[in-house]
Symmetry: C2
Subunit: 126 residues, 2 copies
DNA sequence: ATACAATGTAGAGTAAACTCTATGTCAAGA
DNA sequence: TCTTGACATAGAGTTTACTCTACATTGTAT
């Protein structure tokens, strides 16, 4: 299937402006039809979904751009791309560990509030 | 203990400019000495460490500011503060779940690269 | 034929969270 | 006394990632 920028925007949940911005930044390079309109493919869809994951895991546009450039070069960059992803996985693991620690502390804090609220509600009322 | 802004900066890992910015935004309000210098306390330290957790879990400054305001009001806002944290815990749970899903996909991608690299290295060499 | 909606480009504007600069004060050491 | 270093304020500048505006072009329904 091929998609206009409007359709692709709905499909991906990214705004039309954002898609053009991503193209400007070299993250994605859709085909063009005879009228110079962008034609996004299913391959573009898979690719943009992956970009969304990278973004959501905290990879900055600059780095995604570098990855995209390697990707466009083809096979000779397979290893370097894998290395990037391995490094990113490491960062992701650390991020998850940090968040889980934050969650513990947040739970403690909430427990503290529960007790404190109970205490305050009791004091002076009995 | 009391700390100058310089010491507090080293203690927290936040830049001096950032500390002043946080104060300007109402996140923290250290005492002042006779010379108008900021005097951070251990309570400020505990508080800023919590702020750092909120930030690291994606809470925007605006929201932290709101929390700080409630905190400054004291007991009457205990419940509202707890509610905020409960909501934030929910968001955090979702964030962790998303990241874990991303991690799975990233692992698949890395596996794919491993195989692809092996394939490319084999082809034409034997 | 014409109006309208979607698309194109180029470039300006926005929001968040810092980060830095200019300028001034003040206590302490050489 | 002079200088140095840490601190003060006010406000400008930076970075990232969009998001929007202005204006031109084109395919389609009336």
């Amino acid at each position: 299937m091929e998609y206009s920028i409007g359709d692709f925007s709905k499909l991906t949940g990214l705004g039309i402006h954002t898609l053009r911005y991503y193209e400007h930044e070299g993250l994605i390079t859709p085909e063009r039809n005879s009228n110079n309109r962008r034609c996004y493919s299913d391959k573009d869809l898979t690719w943009i979904e992956f970009i969304k994951r990278l973004k959501d895991t905290g990879m900055p546009i600059k780095e995604i751009k570098h990855y995209a450039k390697l990707r466009a070069t083809g096979n000779p960059t397979l290893f370097e791309r894998m290395e990037m992803l391995v490094q990113h996985r490491q960062a992701l693991d650390e991020q998850i560990a940090r968040l889980q620690d934050h969650k513990l502390k947040l739970n403690e804090k909430i427990e503290f509030y529960k007790k404190e609220i109970a205490r305050v509600n009791t004091r002076g009322t009995g």
